[in-house]
Symmetry: C2
Subunit: 316 residues, 2 copies
């Protein structure tokens, strides 16, 4: 029954694959160039350019594109092709590190879509950029094929200028796809990652040392929780400190586990947890994880979230 | 900073108002009529027809329309106007009770949109249907102005046929807007409600009496939890019974509270809770409520959910 007053939400096929792509372009000043790149992406049916964020000081623009995998891949490829003709890295200046006209292309799974889908997209789009645009492509993040290329800062070291001189002669810089030289469009990092969650927990103490010690204990780089970056900070209130975190993959370390661990660690130091805070957005999947844990859901995934299902339908 | 590898989700203005409308039309057999009604809604820019569900036996169709309030109101009005010219209740037959060509128009808040927005939409659209289409309109649900009109079954009692004969002479049937007589398009119920959550909790016992007793204790009609309907059922497994619920407003009674109450009630009877189950979809706001409770979030609303924000942008 799907009629009022029964359950009246949309039924029908589930598990549509939905991805977000947030390509970064090295142009944040010339509106005509930004418009042209955006238009190239927007002309693909089935992909939607949902947001554009530009910064003149960074001289950089980010598009948020969402939809099903095929159209999103086509849209970002067309935008990359357009950017390659309109942006010249030899004359580009901005405070943000960059290696190319299209600097980085991250694919992010939405809803209950798997990371595998985004890893495959990165490879497909990366190959095409190399083959059709003659641009060196580095696979990064979850799509990385070399351990030293998982992190963008490692790929961007020395930026375009370094690649221009060193790429032809340094085999360690050889791209995953494409030529061992750069043109004026530079190189592009193409990858896959989970949505990043900026998550803080505040503690009822003025002792910054407590926050720092807990952060040290939980961050992955110290052998703590997988996919967790953490630091201790003061807050505006001198009686409160916080553990400030980036959660890079809540499938590996759910928010509930992070919260419980901090609560336990703080309690051992005689300190109470005050509250959780989000900076920015949280993917529905992370909330589903929390509910699954807290209410003992047997099966529950992001496909069950009304707004996620509506988003899939809106982007069809 | 909104650039890769910083937080790269869309920034910008929040709190866009987003609503869903799931109008039910008394036509589930003639494709040309269903197409014409759907087209009338789909031609409004800013409203999206996300889903269509039809049933020939019920002779009924449900459209799922989403977007910002103004366009959604316009879309559902146009569909209602079209339905009034194409559907004749004097010849309509179907097993589902109905009072009109457009039988019921529920407005549902999405994301962090308030119920107030939907109540106002119901009044606005209801007035317009009465004024421009000369159709009697009954406000129901959260938009009801008389206590006996909150529930649809009370409004639908006797259906179109009863209204046709009784409306001109029975002042208790007087509509909230419009004439005291019906034409072949009948009458329409226009209202506002929260998304309904069909939520079950299974118990590790073969004793159906335990599930029934807990259900009796928590349902609103027995003075239990507000906005909760509950019944006890057997399951396919003879060693497991379940408390099966409709949660009509998780702002009044959050899922966490329902779960805790059932767990406590079951424990007092020496029975363990096995797991939670959802039937159908859950609005992101209900999950946000669970996370707020479980992880002690100070401030957190559905606006913070990535897919909800993307949905807002997709429907702009």
């Amino acid at each position: 029954m799907a009629f009022e007053t029964m359950v009246s939400e949309p039924e029908g096929a589930s598990s549509r694959q939905l991805v977000e792509c947030v390509p970064n372009f090295s142009e944040g000043q010339r509106p005509d160039v930004m418009d042209a790149i955006q238009s190239a992406a927007a002309e693909v049916a089935g992909a939607r350019v949902l947001d554009r964020h530009a910064d003149a000081v960074h001289n950089r623009m980010v598009l948020t594109i969402a939809g099903t995998p095929g159209p999103v891949a086509e849209a970002v490829f067309r935008a990359t092709a357009r950017a390659a003709t309109l942006i010249n890295l030899d004359t580009h200046r901005g405070v943000h590190p960059r290696i190319g006209a299209t600097d980085v292309i991250p694919f992010v799974p939405l809803g209950a879509t798997s990371m595998q889908v985004c890893m495959e997209l990165a490879v497909r789009v990366g190959r095409r950029i190399a083959a059709e645009l003659d641009i060196p492509v580095y696979l990064y993040g979850e799509a990385a094929r070399r351990e030293g290329r998982r992190r963008l800062p490692d790929i961007r070291r020395g930026e375009y200028e370094h690649l221009k001189s060193a790429l032809p002669r340094d085999p360690r810089l050889a791209p995953d796809f494409g030529p061992t030289h750069v043109g004026t469009a530079g190189a592009t990092a193409v990858g896959a990652r989970r949505p990043l969650i900026a998550y803080n927990v505040t503690l009822a103490t003025s002792d910054l040392g407590v926050a720092k010690a807990i952060a040290r204990g939980i961050r992955e780089s110290n052998g703590g929780l997988p996919a967790v970056q953490a630091r201790g900070f003061r807050t505006a209130d001198p009686k409160i400190v916080q553990v400030s975190m980036n959660l890079l993959d809540t499938r590996r370390t759910p928010m509930s586990l992070v919260f419980e661990r901090i609560r336990t660690d703080a309690a051992q130091r005689g300190v109470a947890v005050l509250e959780s805070e989000l900076v920015g957005l949280v993917p529905s999947e992370a909330l589903v994880d929390v509910a699954r844990q807290a209410l003992q859901f047997g099966r529950l995934d992001a496909e069950a979230v009304l707004e996620t299902r509506l988003l899939e339908q809106a982007l069809e």
